[in-house]
Amino acid sequence: MLTGSALWYLSRATGVVSIVLLTIVVVMGVITAGRRRPQGSSATVAMGVHRWLSLGMLVFLAAHIVTAIIDGYVSISWWAILVPFISDYEPLLVGFGAIGIDLLIVVVLTSYLRHRIPERLWRGVHWASYGMWVVAIVHGFMFGTTDQPVLRLVTLACGVIGGLFASWRVAVSFGDRERRSQISVQEWS
């Protein structure tokens, strides 16, 4: 049986690993979505890492949640995993985590059903990944205890790297959008 402090450390560790893996998954997704001509083995690698690492991350995330609750040092109910802002302990910050979990569930489910649902539904839901990543970063950063600066720095680095890739995504799709809107105002019906 793990002692209380071991569970606490395990929860912290799996949390920070989850955020790192999640950031890698998001970055791979951003690269795949942003490149105009994804081709060659690098595209396959980016897509493969995106798909499989996202599932790998779930293991760490599950461990993070379970250890945080059964640790019992702070009071978090099982319902608080899914329903935001009902936790006794830090309702706001745990709530961000819960929002992230909710979004993650729909993103994963729609991705499994991708070939059975309209593409635009999958795509629309997949946009929620950005929101999920942001709340996860906020959740991780705000929980980073002051005596553990490394945890905070890792989360901060994830935030910066993810932010840079997201800006790159906006920049490259600008040309696309501009040309598309130029053409779509022409007579087409």
């Binding site: 105009r36 593409e119 539904l121 696309d176 598309r180 053409i183 779509s184």
Partner: protein
Amino acid sequence: MTDIVELLQTAGLTGRGGAAFSSAIKVKAARENKARLIVNACDGEVGAAKDAWVVEHHLPELLEGVELVTGGRRNAKTLFAAHRDSKTARRFADAGLRVLETPERYVSSEETSLISLAHGGQARPMAKRAPFVFGGRDSQGKRIRPTVVLNAETLLRVSQINRYGADWFRSFGTTAEPGPRLVAVGGHVERRGVYEAEAGLRLTSVLAMAGGLAPDIEYVGVGGMGGVLLTAEEVRSATWDGPGMKRFGGSMGPGLITVWNPRDCPVEVATRMIAFGAGESAGQCGPCMFGLPALSRDWIAFSENSNRETHWHLVRRLGQFSGGRGACGHPEGVVRFAQSALRVLGAELAKHADNSCTKAGGRSYAKLA
């Protein structure tokens, strides 16, 4: 009534809109899926005229073909597609038919564009994951009901095969490409018009119906903007059939031949064709909306200043499209034309670049005028 699908199979009718796909297979699928029929009479290709001709002279037979394909199904709601405000659209309307008015532009006349338009969408091509005769979804996930698009001439041939039989049909053309087929001959000829031809004729015999190839003719386009350019010498030795046209990278396509005016600078004409093709992109796929304008720029750069570098840029650009880029055939068509123009116009391009071209639209012509 003998089964029309079997009859079409025996006759070997293929689509006359350009793709030359087996009409029997298409009609069979359309019947099995109770697909809605859209008659394509848009004449979408540059220089096309035969759809309008069929509607003007053979509307009753065309409607008979429609009946045969839809199996006389009540509530078939067949649509008749023609460019907005065209004579053909008016003829359809006057006959009390349901007209699908299409914007007068190149890619809007393509079959999936018509299907999209018929579903209340824009007349822009859709990606075909499976033929829309089975129904499906557009790229946005909107449901598309089973729909089949047949060219106006194809339906005319369906009714003729039903009336006169497969043997009659096979008495025209070659074994591989049987049947009579219309050709629109335009450009610098005595009698522009639509003529009954068949595969296996000499290309000069087809042109002879329009008054023949004048001795000063230098270039002849086959298939319009998505087709190829031939020299007059090549035309004199070519046969009008699939293999004969494939020698030059082309096909019989939607059945049209354009004789280029020898007084016009062919480089300028080709430049305008390529620029037109680039401007007709529906803005949906990268290779089309960015690649074609880039191709147009590279073509102009090479035609104005031909050196190793501009030539290399153009050839590399053309190579980027290999393997059929984009979801529809539009980029491929423009590139096919540009490639054939580059092959055929070598000497003209050199003259054009060093300003010694004196033809109308040529570079020094512009200075003199």
